[in-house]
Symmetry: C3
Subunit: 208 residues, 3 copies
């Protein structure tokens, strides 16, 4: 447990921005029984960009860090609005969205696990908090949109990918690997597993 | 940030009572695939009357204030039971229910924003907490009842109304307006926006 | 409020193990539109075994105790995996599952109420926290699985059974009855009410 685990604000905000973007892209592609209005799309961006971090902090018994600064909400809202504007062209490059999503899951998982270790949680709960941080935003999004919760169903491999990255981070930390390197390895592991799952049809993107 | 922002118990309990009443009225008008029993109606009243406040306190990293006194649960339960008893005649005056609902949203939003300011949150998160406090009870209610989450869908204007009231409260606070006046203005703003939305068919009450 | 209310780790872990087992059995019997994968079954076990305790601690404004030790997650996961393995033969003795479920509800309710009293909550919120701890895991499970939330619907008597046990615990505590005896009486009360409800068709097990 060292100071090295403190996540720089720019990295945290980047994850939130990517999450907000991805949430808005997802919502803009949604065609359900009842349409989402623009606000609904923005809310989904906020939920996906900030939900995992809030769940993480609740599980850690801490004040949600994303509400102690104006920047998180501003960043998530701006990126969700941007996501709405560029949704149509972006949907033509569906692969980009899947890739973005995989990286976001990896970032949320790595940051969640890091914060849990910093606060002194044992290793198993640290991995658990990382997985909840990674998939929590998506679970909240699915519940709010009345969709089947993706993480519960065959083939999504979300939780597996997040769990593998988080577990790797904990192991590398115990081995004394510097946190930056461990974090990069964890994000890469999660993203690669998720992308392989999509690539080899272990999951279809629209099943989310 | 001043002592002025402390919400008197009677005002807080009034909001909870109105929320419990409104929740029970909503539940009693519900005809879904599976019937609610009397307990279900009471639970909806509790959820709607106290849910927003509990979500507010979780987001603020505080113990839920409504569980540190016997009064909140007693008030919410009593008002929910009252709501069940008078539901049938009240449903003939649907306008009253819509009005009651608009005021409740306004009160929860104003109290949530006030508490966030008191605890030193920046202005953007303070508005966010107010909106979550205002719409949180309804979101919980919809999720528990298996309904589409109203705040996510076209035309409800709930979050817009709550956000406008909360933002006005923050601005008036920054301008040095006394809290009581700012609070009344915020509640009125939220309620009027919501009522105008209903009046001019920007939303239908049953769409909730 | 006495030291006597501290719950021994073995008792807490036993409740988590029974909950994980019961959650996995429930999930393995689930046939919805979309299949659960093995991970989904394990997640349901985790959610049902640990969800009520986490909700309890959030309502109490405390760090979730189940995340301060490796044991809870290990126990819940192991019992969920065991539940998957023995699900088929166990489903032939459906009565056992119903009985197991009734005891689990009773344990979660009694532990929740005890912890609330220990932390100095007034009696009404203490009962409320007990009920939320008892039914919270099931609510989370139903929401994640996209099922109607059992506790909201006619005939389940879950909340009633949990509330009766929790209220009895509070009354016995006020009367000075030793906590072990009060806890056993509370668990028995909840379990018996739930079993009577099932036995006399006040509820059908599959309605959960």
């Amino acid at each position: 447990m060292g100071q090295g685990f403190v996540i720089p604000l720019w990295a945290d905000l980047s994850a939130v921005a990517l999450g907000g973007l991805q949430g808005a892209l997802f919502a803009s592609g949604f065609r359900g029984q009842r349409r989402l209005d623009l606000l609904g799309v923005a809310i989904i961006g906020l939920v996906f960009g900030m939900g995992g971090g809030i769940i993480r902090d609740l599980l850690l018994g801490r004040e949600p860090a994303t509400l102690r600064s104006d920047w998180y909400l501003v960043t998530a809202t701006a990126s969700a609005l941007l996501g709405m504007l560029i949704a149509r062209p972006l949907h033509r490059v569906a692969g980009l969205i899947v890739g973005l999503d995989a990286v976001v899951i990896g970032l949320f998982g790595a940051f969640g696990t890091s914060k849990a270790i910093l606060l002194g949680l044992p290793v198993v709960p640290a991995v658990f908090v990382g997985v909840c941080a990674a998939v929590g935003g998506g679970v909240l999004r699915d519940v709010l949109m009345g969709l089947p919760v993706a993480v519960m169903h065959v083939g999504s491999l979300y939780a597996v990918a997040a769990g593998a990255g988080s577990a790797l981070l904990v192991v590398l930390h115990l081995l004394g690997v510097p946190v930056a390197a461990a974090g990069v390895a964890a994000v890469a592991t999660t993203a690669v597993i998720r992308l392989l799952a999509v690539r080899f049809d272990l999951s279809l993107p629209e099943q989310r």
